[in-house]
């Protein structure tokens, strides 16, 4: 059941095959109360994150990627949100932790880079102040020192003339610089885990590449474990060690980047890849090889939620398939599909564009 680190060579440091995960998520469920009932955004996710690795979460819009990642640090807690399950991190169970406990984790051990940096930065505060605020909150340093550290951090994320630019306001920055500033805030306290929710989606293609390079190099340098949520399989191929594919609130396939991108097992993953020109581009809004759209909330069928769109539906599919390895030689590559259980030969036409 637990996803162990891959035995292949693409792990972050590749040193030990049986490392302990630093973040261990079990049966995570997130539901949003709405007027028309509860929307189950995350529907029983198990996930392990290992120190220093980059784990990408991919899936169509609405598959629950944000809901899952935000619930880890309680950023979507509220009267309309129901979160259950467990997420163990440094001896704290994050899901049931009090706000006070979570505050000591947020920003210090787990930080987040948000998608829309313009909205995510306070328009009335100087950039330097917004970075320094993160530092003074978790480190015992003077305001002056924090400011210097903030300037240093802004330089580290590639903002030119950081001492001068620390005095700027967000609206005076370009989109790329804002995302760099957001990254500076998130990494200011050298967190163990960085959650990046579509950090490049709002940016131009060239800027996207720069920000990804930055994330990757800082991640290597600091040894940060990164959970990167993305629509873009190009991003996955560029920086991820492992990939989890989400569909309708569940992880339907997980494995190393190589395994998932080049030897996908789950019919959804295969359709996703087949629909994506060149395998490593952005996931298109509609998937030509998978007709239909993901079931939302209450329409979700019993059993495999991909069944309405799946070309291979079996009688077993009326029962929910569990996420498990179907490769005796590699327990790290897992998928949730009955096809693997039954070892039925699968027609290969959906991978023809590979």
């Amino acid at each position: 059941m637990a996803t162990s680190p891959e035995q292949s060579s693409s792990g972050a440091d590749g040193s030990s095959a049986a490392r302990e995960p630093i973040l261990s998520v079990r049966d995570l469920r997130v539901g949003f109360r709405t007027r028309s009932g509860v929307v189950p955004a995350v529907d029983g996710v198990d996930l392990d994150l290992y120190a220093g690795e980059v784990l990408a979460i991919v899936g169509e819009s609405g598959s629950g990627k944000s809901a899952m990642s935000m619930s880890l640090v309680g950023l979507n807690r509220g009267p309309r949100t129901m979160i259950s399950g467990t997420a163990h991190f440094r001896g704290i169970e994050l899901i049931s932790a009090s706000e006070r406990q979570l505050r000591s984790v947020r920003g210090k051990h787990i930080a987040v880079v948000f998608q829309d940096a313009l909205a995510a930065l306070n328009p009335l505060h100087r950039i330097g102040k917004q970075v320094a605020e993160m530092i003074t909150l978790h480190q015992k340093v003077s305001g002056r020192r924090a400011k210097d550290m903030a300037v240093q951090m802004l330089g580290d994320v590639g903002i030119s003339n950081p001492r001068h630019n620390a005095e700027a306001y967000p609206h005076q920055f370009s989109g790329g610089m804002r995302q760099r500033a957001m990254t500076a805030i998130a990494l200011a306290n050298d967190p163990t885990v960085l959650i990046a929710d579509e950090p490049t989606t709002a940016l131009d293609v060239t800027i996207q590449a720069q920000i990804l390079d930055l994330l990757k190099s800082l991640q290597r340098e600091l040894g940060t474990a990164v959970v990167i949520v993305t629509h873009d399989l190009g991003v996955v191929a560029d920086i991820a060690d492992r990939v989890a594919v989400m569909y309708s609130g569940r992880i339907v396939e997980i494995g190393t980047t190589e395994q998932v991108l080049y030897a996908p097992k789950h019919p959804y993953t295969r359709g996703l890849l087949a629909s994506t020109p060149g395998v490593t581009g952005p996931i298109p809004a509609s998937l030509p090889t998978i007709p239909g759209s993901p079931p939302m909330g209450a329409e979700r069928p019993d059993g495999c939620s991909f069944a309405p769109r799946c070309a291979f539906v079996l009688r077993e599919c009326a029962t929910t398939p569990i996420l498990a390895s179907h490769d005796p030689s590699d327990s790290g590559h897992q998928d949730a599909c009955w096809l693997g259980e039954l070892t039925i030969p699968v027609p290969d036409e959906s991978r023809s564009t590979l």
Binding site: V73, L75, E99, R103, S104, V105, R106, G107, K108, A111, V112, F114, D116, A119, A120, L121, N122, P123, L124, H125, E133, M134, L137, H138, Y169, H171, Q172, M182, I185, A186
Partner: protein, 356 residues
């Protein structure tokens, strides 16, 4: 919520200097409009100052004599001239900042305003400060307790307060605190027994200039009830504004960032919510100041408070044209200048308006 969004939209101005210049350029225009409207409106009201003057103290005179009297006065006051000529003459005088004389008594309009305008300024600004403090505190508390009992109570009070005839509240205040309890003076601005000789006519300022600390307490005692009366309705408005604005800001993405940093609710509120949600409130403050000035006319009358409002009411009753025109002119000027200050405040609060 759309109102909040619309009003918080940044003004399109480059520098503070340009902003002020642009606003000040509007001043003569607005004043011209105000003067024109008041000039003709006054002359639309039946009756004339000559009649009011000519009839006064005329017991025993025949109606013919009275009429002759009135005709003579009409000529003296220049009211027999064509209306447009009168208007032109007045505009010329105003452009030289000469507001003329009251028809009753021989005081210049400027000297009458010098005596009364400071009292009104004291009243409206005290009311404004009370309203802002009350409104912001209750608005923030309501937003933080959204959907809870306290929120409903505050909202109910706010709604009632600005749908209430608040001058009736003033009368009630006089009856309870002044007449029944005897805690506060009934009317006026300062008791004559204090022998207050105005320098600037701003009591607080004069108390310092003349070293008369004994003026302060009576001044506050006289001011508090009218100022509260005036403040209540505006406070209710600000409460609702602040509540909506705080709730809107709380939903903004940068609040999630603040939470991600590990800030607690108190620091999020004080460091990230308050200033951001003050923007739309500041914008309406300038406009609300207008209704505050309007309200001061009634409040001053109810409390016999010697301000411009009181002056204006008696001037209208007496058809004292020049005084009415001058008083409205002064109040309009006060309104415009306050709005310039509000613009500057907004500009200081929101860096997005400043040039990169």
């Amino acid at each position: 919520m759309t109102l909040v969004m619309r009003l918080s939209r940044p003004l399109r101005s480059r520098t503070l200097g340009m902003l002020i210049v642009r606003r000040l350029l509007l001043v003569p225009l607005v004043l011209f409009a105000v003067v024109t409207i008041v000039f003709f409106a006054m002359r639309l009201i039946p009756g004339s100052p000559a009649t009011t003057l000519g009839v006064a103290g005329t017991e025993g005179l025949s109606s013919k004599q009275i009429q002759e009297n009135i005709d003579a006065l009409t000529k003296t006051l220049g009211l027999d001239r064509p209306l447009l000529e009168q208007f032109g003459t007045y505009l010329l005088a105003v452009s030289r900042l000469d507001l003329g004389y009251s028809f009753f008594g021989s005081n210049s309009v400027v000297s009458l305003l010098k005596n009364t305008l400071p009292a009104t300024i004291e009243l409206v600004f005290t009311a404004m400060i009370i309203a802002v403090i009350l409104g912001v505190v209750t608005g923030v508390v309501a937003a933080m307790r959204r959907g809870k009992a306290l929120d409903s109570i505050i909202l109910a009070f706010a709604t009632v307060s600005f749908s209430l005839p608040w001058f009736a509240l003033g009368v009630l205040g006089i009856i309870v605190f002044s007449v029944q309890l005897g805690w506060l003076p009934v009317l006026g601005r300062l008791p004559t027994s204090l022998g207050y000789q105005p320098t600037t006519n701003f009591v607080l300022l004069d108390a310092i200039l003349q070293n008369r600390p004994d003026l302060v307490l009576p001044w506050i005692e006289h001011l508090i009830l009218p100022a509260l009366t005036l403040a209540i309705s505006m406070a209710g408005f600000i409460t609702r504004m602040v509540r909506a604005s705080v709730l809107e800001v709380l939903g903004d993405d940068f609040i999630r960032t603040a939470r991600m940093k590990g800030l607690d609710e108190w620091h999020i509120m004080s460091g990230h919510v308050l200033r951001n949600s003050s923007l739309p409130v500041v914008t309406v403050l300038g406009l609300q100041f207008g209704s505050l000035l309007g309200g001061s006319v009634i409040t001053e009358t109810v409390f016999s408070y010697p301000g411009v409002g009181n002056l204006l009411v008696s001037a209208v009753n007496q058809h004292d044209y020049l005084l009415v025109q001058g008083a409205v002119f002064a109040v309009a000027l006060l309104f415009i200048l306050t709005n310039v200050v509000v613009d500057i405040l907004y500009y200081v609060l929101d860096p997005r308006l400043r040039k990169a």
